[in-house]
Assembly symmetry: C2
Homo-oligomer: 405 residues x 2
């Protein structure tokens, strides 16, 4: 039996390490000699930056801590492999290192961009006759991967957003005075996370008053009119706005702001300041107190409140990838398929990674209400099972305990 | 036996309703006929806006939910009573309403400004021969009340900040690239909450790299130099900055920003944008990625992560105020006195509210390290017991359950 290596890539989530735990335990259980971790994904691997995980995960307590530790334990990267038709240099380097480490199984936990890496590496392996198996394990809070019912990481982010909105809504009503709260939520081009703000509504919470989803064009005047009209009937208005809403001309709304901007190596613009910009517009045009709040990276790293359903599924997709690789699969991603909604049940299946990489799954337009500012019960039926149950952190001396390399 | 009334005032906390629960249960146990709640504090009372709490808190389950419900259950206000030497009009109105409701005991849960209200009402009662007892119950996340060892509400905010910083620090190191994260924390003129960011440091967390406390003047150039120097040794630098840091000329740093500003009825400036402003300065002057994060109101309303020590003490100060009032006290505030640190033990005591109202307790200067950017172990010994233990929310259908009027 040969060795396995596993990496984490892209933005971290609160549960990405549960997938790492799933890979590690399944690979050990199936007889892998050494399970390596790439430090900072493929970018680190190119420098032969690796960790022998068997030396770190000595006991089952460490695995339990790993499941409860947010952000990528192994470190992450945003490295995009050039296609091997352009240059084979990084490929030769990677395969040389994999050979040196006697790697038979390669696992990569990530989103769209990470599946692009798995696609290219497995294609190159086929071209060159390598027998190494390359498997993708889905992860992203954005829930924008194709073919899978949902992505591990989404449920916990969704739960964090729902729970936080409940608290913000209560806070915003406390003075009983006119007040507009605008909350900025992640999700570059898909509204899954912003829609999750609507989960706050319940017997004990009036819910969010308005969603601004990136699936629809954003008209500033219309927005201001709606806010003003709503406030005639209700003093505290809470709006959940996606960081990625766009003007009719295709520019991001936040591009109107004067903050410094930044473009990453995948060409993604750094989106921030949408809520602040809208709050300033409200302050200028409507006679009300206003506040903007960015949930910022807390929505992806708040390990202190996670969905146990999500943690469990994250662990399962890691294990399923190992099973598939050991059975000879390569160039595939594990996906979740919902076989029943009541009771909620999901199984794992496999898809050719070419069908996943570089696509984005958006919120279905017919799940958005006709007024464009809320989602239908279809969304709630879909998302509610994903936020069920909790995995309590282990608190030591007043704070949650994590595991660190 | 006559009736009691209780109000909540000023900014909400995650545990202010535990004090309300303490007042309600103690007053009922001591034989009060009706316990009223003021809707939106004294401002609501002036409109005779009240709630019969006995009709709401039917069962002990409701009390348990109340303890776990953040933000002021009764609503709050920022109403400042004029002194009765200026006008007796609001006083006559309030005492008429209290007489009509047959009130013998008046409890007000709040911070500095709320203690000002208790002081004025109890002074007026003495002047006019009223026998109503007025008692103050401390509450503020800022921990800036005099004479009490700490304020109920601080422990939970401190725990939230420590837990959140641990998560943010992990997230910020994930790419292993140069990165400056600037986190803005509440606390207008006192650094108790910002200092709490230092609690993140532990075996499993490298901790915050720099605190900017409002007790010391802020020099922008010195700040930029320190950040640049630190980053030569360590790629990810995390800075916790108080919203209330001031330039040597006395202006708040955030006044340099171009955001709309707002002054409340107590003359307090709305402080926001400090972290964003500093992040823009870092981006201009240092070759690094940078992000600013405002913990915003989540630090005061995150009922999903609270300190059980804090919840318990909040309940106790409510009960202690009732006991004192029923024993004939008036014009006093309940305070906490630490009688032992190891093991941690606190008792309640009473202080003349004149000694508390309108003063601010700052972080002791000798608890700040000589370099001005960290706190000594004295702070840790003081704060660590206050964040101990948890009170788990009751989760229904995936989200925490609250109680609502």
């Amino acid at each position: 039996m040969k060795n396995a290596i596993v990496g984490q890539s892209g933005g971290p989530t609160a549960v990405i390490n549960s997938s790492l735990a799933g890979v590690y335990e399944a690979a050990k259980n199936r007889g892998a000699d050494i399970v390596y971790g790439m430090a900072h994904g493929v970018a680190g691997l190119l420098n032969e930056d690796k960790i022998n995980l068997s030396q770190i995960f000595d006991t089952s307590l460490e695995i339990e801590l790993l499941k409860r530790t947010p952000s990528s334990f192994l470190g992450s990267c945003r490295y995009k492999l050039p296609h091997f038709s352009e240059t084979t240099e990084p490929y030769e380097k990677i395969f040389k290192i994999l050979k040196k480490l006697d790697i038979q199984f390669f696992f990569y936990i990530g989103g769209n961009d990470s599946m692009d890496t798995i696609m290219k590496l497995s294609d190159y392996a086929k071209e060159t006759g390598s027998k190494i198996s390359f498997m993708g394990i889905p992860k992203t809070i954005d829930n924008d991967l194709m073919l899978t019912d949902h992505t591990p990481g989404f449920g916990s982010a969704s739960k964090y957003i729902g729970a936080t909105m409940k608290e913000l809504i209560r806070d915003a009503t406390v003075y009983g005075t006119p007040y507009v709260t605008i909350v900025e939520i992640m999700g570059r081009n898909s509204g899954w996370l912003t829609a999750s703000a609507s989960l706050a509504k319940a017997e004990d919470c009036e819910g969010v008053d308005m969603l601004c989803l990136p699936e629809l064009p954003f008209y500033l005047n219309e927005f201001l009119n709606k806010v003003e009209k709503m406030q005639q009937e209700k003093k505290s208005i809470v709006v959940a706005v996606s960081e990625g809403i766009k003007l009719p001309d295709g520019r991001y709304v936040c591009e109107l702001s004067n903050d410094a901007r930044f473009v990453d190596s995948f060409g993604h613009k750094n989106l921030t300041g949408t809520a602040r910009l809208l709050a300033n517009q409200v302050a200028k045009n409507i006679n009300t107190k206003v506040r903007s709040i960015e949930l910022s990276i807390l929505q992806r790293c708040a390990g202190h409140i996670t969905s146990r359903t999500d943690i469990t599924e994250s662990y399962q997709v890691g294990g399923a990838a190992v099973r598939a690789a050991f059975n000879g699969h390569t160039g595939e991603m594990v996906a979740l398929r919902r076989i029943s909604n009541d009771p909620y049940q999901c199984i794992t299946e496999l898809y050719d990674v070419h069908k996943v990489a570089n696509f984005e799954k958006k919120l279905p337009i017919d799940w958005i209400c006709e007024n464009g500012t809320n989602v239908t019960n279809n969304f709630h039926r879909y998302a509610r099972p994903l936020i069920q149950a909790e995995l309590t952190p282990i608190y030591i001396n007043g704070l949650q305990r994590h595991i660190k390399i």
